[in-house]
Symmetry: C2
Subunit: 493 residues, 2 copies
């Protein structure tokens, strides 16, 4: 793409001034359209060192009220950031609906740098490209406008600019080692950039190459493409996206009604004995996974009053508080609802060596949001694949992902609801909503069956915890957690 | 994609029957939705020999009224078809709005066969993939639903099926040489197929891989994906698509107002002499290009009464009638309007060695359709790129593409209009519409300037014919046609 790119023709002065004014005014007018349409806009700037990305961003934001945008740069990842998946620090910074985010280099920079430094094998590169393409697709499918600009200058032009900057005491600091490296190895870099642009040039999030030999002209080009993109995207708000086929290997799973609950019982003695032994085993494993820097994500879903809380407590009872976190997930806050539905989970990921236990999860999308109509049918139908892709990112990163469905029958739930209501200390645990949900038991069961079937991937399968006897469910959970963590520890020797 | 594909789990009998009935009923109901939404639907079936594509197509169409669909197969291209661009015979068969077309193998088959037979170099393969991706994108952008299914079976399963077919006299004929070749070289074919699926797996026209070990199950999978696709696409009717950046090298062009018309004049003597010489030159060249099998496309656009007709006559005057065709382009017929706007031009392409002269062209999209609002703004804004891509296909095929803009000034037009009205023999040439268009001269001029600027690619630039003196314009046209054809003939030695 880059190789064949032909520098654009700068318009004559008169036309140029006219178009620049028009484009600036249009962007100024767009900010209200963006707000009204609730459009989240990502504007990504990549390109050669000294091509003038920063100065163009500076110009462009002058047309927008500071309440409506943010500018974000991504220097080399810090040691802390390296303890998260590659996508993490980018996903953290996606804008909310109605706002713009400008990125002075986004994930491209990190990938192409790693490529130049030869720390990314062909296979890793392919995998990263796949992650990026999936993520950009998922952002667009969820209503994001993703505009990607690459600032292009020639080798000679770059050299002159760098020399000019180096000549002056006040600007010398702006030239980085990698800028100089880039210029010296211009052709190699060109190849890497060209390949990246080609590999990520998706019809729904295409690249725009900006001829950057003149700063004002670069500004005009960006403005015109940006305005056009905003216009198209505001027209397309609420559009449905194709529902992709699952491409991940799935495990065979039972329907909920096929799960045998009877006889899944432990005596108090059995329970006490096993609990003690398993907790001490987990305690030791926790140290091990900390040393091996393995991240663990445990996801709990289950019927109201199925015993999730008590179950979680038996896990955390064995853990060092510095090494885990329990994350109770309620309905999303306004600032969470205004972003990609996985954003609030991306931002809650554990660091390597840590455990995150989610009490309710991203599966809300295909349960409560589906049933209550909090998202469109197209949204929840797409979500199975989006969730599998999300969990694939986690396991590719090296995480152990354990998903528990805590299962009881309808009768058991009723008994526990009544007990809660009768017991003043437990009354806070039972709400009108619980009763309303109970009325929709069959609808939920259908949704849960579909969810378990479509998201029991080999890398992140569901485990059913039979919880009519809570003791039984707790021991089973501990056993699974220990088994999965041990496997991961053994594999990372 | 194909390598990692995991065979799907066939549901239990009861669920299976239920879902199959539901899916069939849904498709049956969809045909009216498709008609009402005016959705054109392309359903493409590819896959291994004996995987059962044909029989599944047969099952599926039973749910649809014959008025709403067509089935089309593409055997190896005939000698006649090979005289057209690769995409030609496929583009000819795209459905109109509100109808479905089922393809028992589409362009994939032709590409992967050529790949297996090693008649397509890496470079040619890349170029073909690019053509296909562009075309699928352009179809989707223009409102088409493109559903692509690949029928997957294992090597052993295929072998058994082929042997069974060969065993019976009545079915023997159904096994082709290429089926046997495929099974013998299963792994090599797998690699070629896998690569193709990966290379063309676009978010807006994704692949669905169908586990074909069971015919009824394959039918169910196709039906469910197809129903889902139709549902999404009907919701998305009229959606705007991103406007891509031009990636083709453009020539610098003047604005119409900068074109000097004065002094572009020939005396009658000069004209007669030159005309005679040039026509005899062209006559000879016509033989040459026929022998060399070079296709030539000459596109005329220009102001009303600019002298297009007379100009064309001076070209055709030199040509053997068996080797050229003049194609007058009026506003599209209903069946043309119901398809991709380039369809009526794809279907009118000349064979190799032939000349097609278009009197008005595909540029109507960015002139009259733009100004009269016959298409959306998003449509005509996207069209510059779509047209450049179309012409790129033509020149890649080896065609000489010559585009003339026949230019006069407003005053000259008025004089000619009046003359036409005064002359009973010419009165048919002047209509109310011509007068109405004249009133929009400035709007047209703006559109034409933009068109010439954005579509003067290096492979298919515009030539301005100054036609206040028609003689001058005719001689200039002949000179350009001769020059371009000569260049192509010389290059193909």
């Amino acid at each position: 793409m880059l190789r064949e790119f032909v520098m654009a023709e700068k318009p004559e002065d008169e036309e140029f001034s006219l178009r620049l004014k028009e484009a600036r005014d249009k962007l100024f007018a767009s900010q209200m359209k963006i707000k009204e349409a609730g459009l989240p806009v990502m504007v990504i700037f990549e390109g050669w060192g000294a091509a003038g990305k920063g100065s163009v961003i500076g110009k462009i934001i002058q047309n927008i009220d500071p309440r409506f945008f943010r500018v974000k740069t991504f220097p080399k990842p810090s040691k802390e950031e390296l303890r998260y998946p590659f996508l993490y620090r980018y996903m953290k910074e996606i804008p909310e609906q109605g706002k713009l985010a400008f990125y002075d280099s986004f994930w491209m920079g990190e990938v192409t740098n790693a490529r130049m430094e030869e720390v990314l094998s062909d296979e890793e590169y392919e995998e990263t490209i796949e992650s990026i393409n999936r993520t950009e697709r998922s952002l667009v499918d969820n209503g994001y406008l993703v505009m990607k600009f690459f600032f292009q200058i020639g080798k000679k032009e770059q050299k002159e600019r760098l020399e000019k900057l180096l000549d002056e005491k006040n600007t010398k600091w702006r030239v980085s080692k990698s800028d100089l490296y880039e210029n010296k190895h211009y052709d190699d870099c060109m190849e890497v950039y060209d390949r990246y642009l080609k590999d990520t040039n998706n019809p729904t999030a295409p690249w725009y190459i900006i001829d950057s030999k003149d700063k004002k002209f670069a500004e005009l080009q960006v403005l015109e493409f940006l305005n056009q993109g905003i216009e198209t995207a505001t027209k397309n708000r609420g559009l449905a996206a194709p529902i992709l086929q699952n491409t991940f290997p799935l495990k065979k799973t039972p329907l909920l009604k096929e799960v045998v609950l009877k006889d899944k019982v432990l005596t108090d003695e059995e329970y006490d004995e096993k609990l003690k032994a398993l907790q001490s085993e987990l305690r030791e494993l926790h140290n091990k996974l900390y040393r091996k820097k393995i991240p663990v994500i445990i996801a709990y879903e289950g019927w109201d009053a199925a015993g999730k809380g008590g179950n979680i407590k038996r896990i955390t009872g064995a853990l060092d508080p510095r090494g885990y976190e329990v994350l109770p997930i309620a309905s999303p806050e306004p600032h969470e609802k205004a972003r990609h539905f996985l954003w609030r989970f991306w931002t809650r990921l554990p660091r390597t060596g840590h455990i995150a236990i989610f009490d309710r999860t991203w599966y809300g999308r295909v349960m409560v949001e589906r049933i209550e109509g909090f998202c469109s049918e197209n949204d929840w139908q797409r979500a199975y694949n989006e969730i599998n892709e999300f969990e694939k990112e986690l396991t590719n990163w090296g995480a152990v992902v354990i998903k528990f469905w805590v299962q009881i029958d309808k009768k058991t739930q009723l008994a526990r609801f009544k007990e809660r209501q009768a017991n003043p200390e437990k009354q806070w645990k039972i709400t009108d909503e619980d009763w309303r949900n109970r009325e929709k038991w069959d609808q939920y069961e259908e949704a849960i069956d579909e969810m378990i079937k479509k998201t029991s991937t080999e890398f992140a399968p569901w485990y059913i915890l039979e919880s009519v006897d809570k003791k039984y469910a707790r021991i089973k959970a501990l056993e699974i957690v220990i088994e999965q963590i041990r496997k991961a520890c053994d594999a990372k020797d």
